[in-house]
């Protein structure tokens, strides 16, 4: 089993390089850098930009999250359909009913979700 584990040696090396880079940079900046003077102007979030105004966390309508969630959901549907469509011709030769039935039932379940979201007025921006 030594050979199988030794295949992962490059991965271990990558870990070492990554950790070395992170800690090395930090250590180097401590050793080589100078401690600068801190003023009030230097401590504001955008040192040489606009003056910050108002609270940092503005409240957003929950509708944004709902739409984002639904977008992700129906976007994944398309992600599934691409590889299915590419392989469909090959799958027809082996098991045609399963190839079509699988996708149709998947879309059917998603359609139920769509009707549910529609009837619960998740797409209605004003309610």
């Amino acid at each position: 089993m030594g050979t199988q584990l030794s295949q992962y040696f490059p991965v271990l090396m990558l870990f070492g390089v990554a950790a070395g880079f992170a800690f090395g940079t930090l250590a180097f900046s401590v050793i080589a850098g100078k401690v600068g003077r801190r003023t009030r102007t230097k401590d504001i979030p955008y040192e040489c930009g606009m003056l910050p105004e108002g609270p940092g966390s503005a409240r957003m309508s929950v509708k944004f999250f709902l739409v984002a969630l639904l977008f992700v959901l129906f976007d994944i549907e398309v992600v599934f359909m691409y590889p299915w469509a590419v392989n469909y011709r090959d799958m027809l030769k082996t098991n045609a009913p399963l190839a079509l039935g699988g996708m149709v039932s998947f879309l059917g379940i998603l359609f139920v979700g769509y009707v549910y979201a529609l009837k619960k007025r998740a797409f209605d921006w004003r309610s």
């Binding site: 399963l98 139920v112 549910y116 619960k120």
Partner: protein, 494 residues
């Protein structure tokens, strides 16, 4: 290829989708009726699945899915649990202000996951079905979203469930990397070489971590008390019966279907886990004041008792696990049905809130007492005979490995401790003073039916255990147990 084998699962999923759609067009006040309809349709599916739907055993999807005795036993178990949990939810509706139909639909989807888990013969199908259960429970546990404890339960289950899933999928990746297959039967065929492969053993261990989370075994039990306390009662009931049983059927399939040889080398690990789980659950249950939290610790202790049967690594042990789960099912559902019936009159889950229940509702108090007495393992309830079977399996194993006598002692200590905390609740019901000015508690007809079914199960299976025992024994016939326990393991255990 024999795709008709999954008809039961397809029907349950269609029922869940139907409930979800029907909710959009019915009036809010007829939602409880939708629950009764769903429960009765589930009853039809159960009756059909016993015979007409899938008459022949077999496997489908390239050996990923098997239908055998073990799968049939657990499918019946899960379907019955689904029916009773939906009836319980109807009873609990006063505490679920929004989304009653969604609660039914999610219960049905979790049920479909459990049905697939009962038939999983492949690490991938195992993972997917467990995810279907776990993800659904994220929502069910945090369903009372205006209640802080319920949200806490949901978040804790989400985080710990996510970690457990990560462990499991990482383990499956290592198993696939070393065995080149994820099928249980194909893994079993090459386990002689795999037993010496550290990558495979690491992967298997990580899969066991994921399953240990599902059954709430030490040291993966930390979520159980908080989640049990905070979740809505029907979700807790389904979690403690369905989710735990799904974990155990997969544990049996992995340990005795995929890797029986490696399992026989890991007997000490199973024994130690069982012993610590029993002691931890029993000792932590002692000071509890909240009834649902008490049930959470009791569920940990019961996972330990069930692990005794797994650790025995024999046909007797595994059939005892199945029998104990069957009895535990009726007992726990009886207790939670009582809790749901009380939910409209009593607004918290403290044990002190049960004070004087013996006078306010003699029926509910008697039902709760019978459930608790059965959990404590007192004859003639089913809990006694289940523990008896498990301990008999431990004694049988002790003839080969004397370390099992220690395990037997631990189990007896756990039972004695459990007498104290279960009888504490019974004492509150019959000898506690009811608060002044309280009335009698009405029990609705469906709750009465569900309770009578559960109590009949608890008493009948305790007095006449033969039928279920034969069923359980036939169900585990397909599992493989490594015949000889290696002597080196025996000495190592001392």
């Amino acid at each position: 290829m024999n795709h008709s084998l999954i008809t039961t699962e397809i029907l349950v999923i269609l029922l869940g989708l139907g409930v979800l759609l029907a909710d959009l067009w019915i009036r809010p006040e007829s939602r409880p009726a939708l629950g009764w309809l769903a429960a009765s349709l589930l009853g039809c599916i159960l009756a059909l699945s016993l015979g007409a739907l899938t008459p022949h055993d077999g496997s489908a999807f390239g050996g990923m899915y098997v239908l055998d005795g073990l799968a049939r036993y657990f499918k019946g178990f899960f379907l019955l649990a689904g029916i009773l949990v939906i009836l319980m939810t109807v009873e609990f509706r006063h505490r679920l202000p929004v989304g009653l139909s969604e609660f039914f639909a999610l219960t049905l989807f979790a049920l479909a996951g459990m049905l697939f888990a009962a038939s999983a013969n492949d690490f991938i199908l195992m993972f997917v079905s467990l995810e279907l259960i776990t993800v659904t429970f994220f929502v069910l546990n945090s369903f009372q979203r205006a209640r802080l404890p319920s949200l806490e339960a949901g978040v804790k289950y989400l985080i710990l469930g996510g970690v457990a899933s990560a462990f499991m999928i990482f383990g499956i990746a290592l198993i696939f990397g070393s065995a080149n297959t994820t099928n249980f039967s194909l893994v079993a065929a090459q386990q002689a070489q795999l037993a010496a492969n550290p990558v495979f053993l690491t992967g298997l261990m990580l899969v066991l971590v994921g399953l240990g989370f599902k059954i709430a075994a030490f040291p993966f039990h930390l979520w159980a008390p908080d989640v049990y306390q905070g979740s809505p009662a029907p979700a807790t009931a389904f979690l403690s019966v369905g989710s735990k049983a799904a974990g155990f059927v997969l544990l049996l399939r992995v340990l005795f279907g995929a890797v029986p040889q490696i399992t026989s080398q890991w007997q000490v690990l199973l024994m130690v886990t069982a012993a610590i789980t029993i002691l931890y659950g029993s000792l932590c249950a002692l000071p509890q004041r909240n009834f649902k939290r008490l049930l959470g610790y009791s569920s940990i202790a019961n996972a330990g008792y069930l692990l005794l049967g797994v650790a025995a690594e024999s046909r007797t042990g595994s059939s005892a696990v199945l029998y104990y789960l069957g009895g535990y099912f009726f007992t726990v559902l009886a207790i939670f049905t009582v809790l749901c019936s009380l939910s409209s009159t009593i607004d918290n889950d403290e044990i002190s809130a049960l004070n004087g229940l013996g006078r306010r509702s003699p029926f509910l108090a008697a039902a709760l007492s019978i459930g608790l007495v059965s959990l404590a393992g007192i004859p003639p309830m089913v809990g006694f005979f289940g523990k008896f079977q498990l301990l008999a399996a431990v004694l049988e194993a002790a003839r080969l490995a004397p370390a099992f006598y220690v395990l037997l002692g631990v189990a007896v200590v756990g039972v004695v401790l459990s007498l104290y905390y279960y009888f504490n609740v019974i004492r509150a019901m019959y000898w506690g003073d009811a608060p002044a000015g309280v009335s009698l508690i009405e029990v609705s007809a469906p709750a009465r039916i569900a309770l009578l079914v559960c109590l009949a199960g608890v008493l009948y299976l305790g007095i006449a255990p033969g039928g279920l025992l034969r069923l359980a024994d036939g169900a585990v016939a397909g599992l493989k147990f490594s015949p000889a326990h290696a002597p080196s393991v025996v000495t190592a255990a001392h």
